[in-house]
Amino acid sequence: MTVTTVAQAPGQDAGLASRRPVIAVEGLSLTFDTADGPVYALSNVDLTVEEGEFVSFIGPSGCGKTTLLRVLADLESATSGSARVNGVSPEEARLGRQYGYVFQAPALYPWRTVEKNVTLPLEIMGYPASERRERAKRNLELVNLTGFEGKYPWQLSGGMQQRASIARALSFDPKLLFMDEPFGALDEIVRDKLNDQLLALWRKTGKTVLFVTHSIPEAVYLSTRIVVMSPRPGRIIDTIDCNLPAHRTLDMRETPEFLAIAQRVRDGLRAGHSYDD
């Protein structure tokens, strides 16, 4: 399926003045104590993300991009520095259910149908049954899984499972979406399609998205801003504005503008590596 309708997101043309920082990170560091000594996962990270942005984090494995997302989601605690999510600490944001998190794997519960997986957060948050059903219907439609409500996860392909997990993250309508390499395990054809759908979904919902990836084309295609990170210690080495037109198509990947941004990302990654060696 392809989404052709392009609705302008509320955050898109609202102008810079009305924007407020959704994520504010200052001097954030995280050190894991392991048996082999300390591992410096994040070092002195500064970052501000405004409402409605689509920010990608790109870097080689082990550069701390997932860790940064996990700190913001309060799944990991920073060693030093400060992080604010919607103006509050990550823990308060988590307790306030202010973000949805999409993991590397769909992590659907195998004993629940697709619909029941989508309503899982709603059950926990105490939504009434009628609204749970209604929201499941709406969000499954959003990820084009209408008709698969009664199926179990094993009856779905990998791409469909990941879309169900996105519907699950959207079901309680958080303003903020953390996505940790959600399409990393999928083949390129499926990934292209899902990128298209994600872009349409982002335009439609106007959510702020923080997206971890290690695919350069994916990052350039999706983002309004790309954060390039380097490993050991994980730090930000470049932040690239990705001001391609809001309406993007897959063949835009051949345009000089697209390639110029991709080149800058590649340069950043290379610079990060030489620093490390």
Binding site: M1, A73, D74, L75, R94, L95, R97, Y99, G100, Y101, F103, Q104, A105, A107, Y109, P110, W111, R112, T113, L120, P121, E123, I124, M125, N144, K151, Y152, P153, W154, Q155, L156, S157, G159, M160, R163, V190, K193
Partner: protein, 304 residues
């Protein structure tokens, strides 16, 4: 989007292959049974040949035939055991103390009560161990120690102690069953409750789910396959517990009593038929658990 991942209906060729496999499996099972029966028959004559009750100074053929029809052989022949089973189940009234059905029911009732209590205790202990961290270090050693004591030594104590406060019959036997069968359930369920992976648990954390919600919506359903694996072991050993519990009661009723009185009076055929009855009962119980497992797993969306 891709829809080809939907389950394909089982093809006809697949059905034929499955039938073929089932057939060859049945052949293998029958071959093993035939081998065992053959070995059994072969062993009967040498085992019984030196008994004083064997006829003397008769031709070998007669001696040989007699070994398979003795009243109190060392090793009864399979057909003798089957005849005894038939006589004591079909040809005897079920309420008579000579009926194996009567004794079987006595044992089965305490097995089921003990199994239910033991499974419940096992689950409760497992919940305690996974939800209260210090309990794992403090409680688990006692649980393991409890299983190192031979049940034959504990059973008479339980019977005597409970008998002194007026509890006889079903309850003491059920308690011995429970003592034996809670253990695999505890071990299995601790494993089951901790089986969800980090991602599944992190998901609950992002919803800021309470401990109780995480238990009800993740840990409990994830542990169901482990529960049934434990229950299959538990139900079989809870039958063992019930039989052991019947031994020190002075052989009043139950399959254990049948075994005991058989050995008092040298009624080997009776011993063997009680033995067969208890293994048939055990298989039936394990099968019943397996059946409930199949239905439950199907209802929980497991791949057929």
């Amino acid at each position: 989007m891709t829809t080809e991942a939907l389950a394909l209906p089982r093809s006809r060729a697949g059905g034929r292959i499955a039938a073929g496999i089932a057939q060859s499996k049945a052949v293998a099972v029958l071959a093993i049974v035939a081998l065992i029966v053959l070995a059994w028959y072969a062993a009967v004559y040498p085992m019984n040949a030196d008994l004083p009750s064997m006829p003397k100074e008769v031709p070998f053929a007669e001696r040989f035939a007699a070994a398979y029809a003795l009243d109190r052989p060392v090793l009864p022949a399979p057909h003798q055991v089957i005849a005894e089973l038939w006589k004591t189940t079909v040809e005897t009234r079920a309420t008579s103390p000579r009926s194996l059905l009567f004794h079987g029911w006595v044992t089965l009732s305490s097995t089921l009560v003990g199994f239910a209590l033991g499974s419940l205790l096992g689950i409760v202990l497992a919940i305690g161990i996974v939800s209260v961290k210090p309990l794992e270090k403090s409680l688990l050693p006692w649980i393991i120690a409890s299983q190192t004591i031979p049940i034959l030594a504990v059973a008479p104590i339980v019977i005597v102690v409970l008998g002194s406060i007026g509890l006889t019959g079903l309850v003491p036997k059920a308690i011995i069953s429970m003592y034996l069968c809670f253990f695999p359930v505890t071990i299995g369920m601790v494993k089951g409750f901790t089986s969800p992976d980090t991602m599944q648990l992190d998901l609950m954390r992002t919803y800021s789910a309470s401990g109780l919600q995480t238990f009800a919506k993740l840990r409990w359903p994830a542990s169901v396959p482990f529960l049934f694996a434990s229950l299959k072991v538990a139900v079989a050993i809870s039958l063992v517990g019930a039989i052991v519990g019947e031994l020190p009661t002075g052989a009043q009723a139950g399959l254990g009593a049948r075994l005991l009185s058989g050995s008092y009076y040298g009624q080997t055929v009776q011993i063997w038929s009680a033995l067969f009855a208890s293994s048939i009962l055990a298989s039936g119980l394990v099968l019943a658990v397996a059946l409930i497992e199949r239905v439950t797993m199907r209802l929980m969306g497991a791949r057929p």
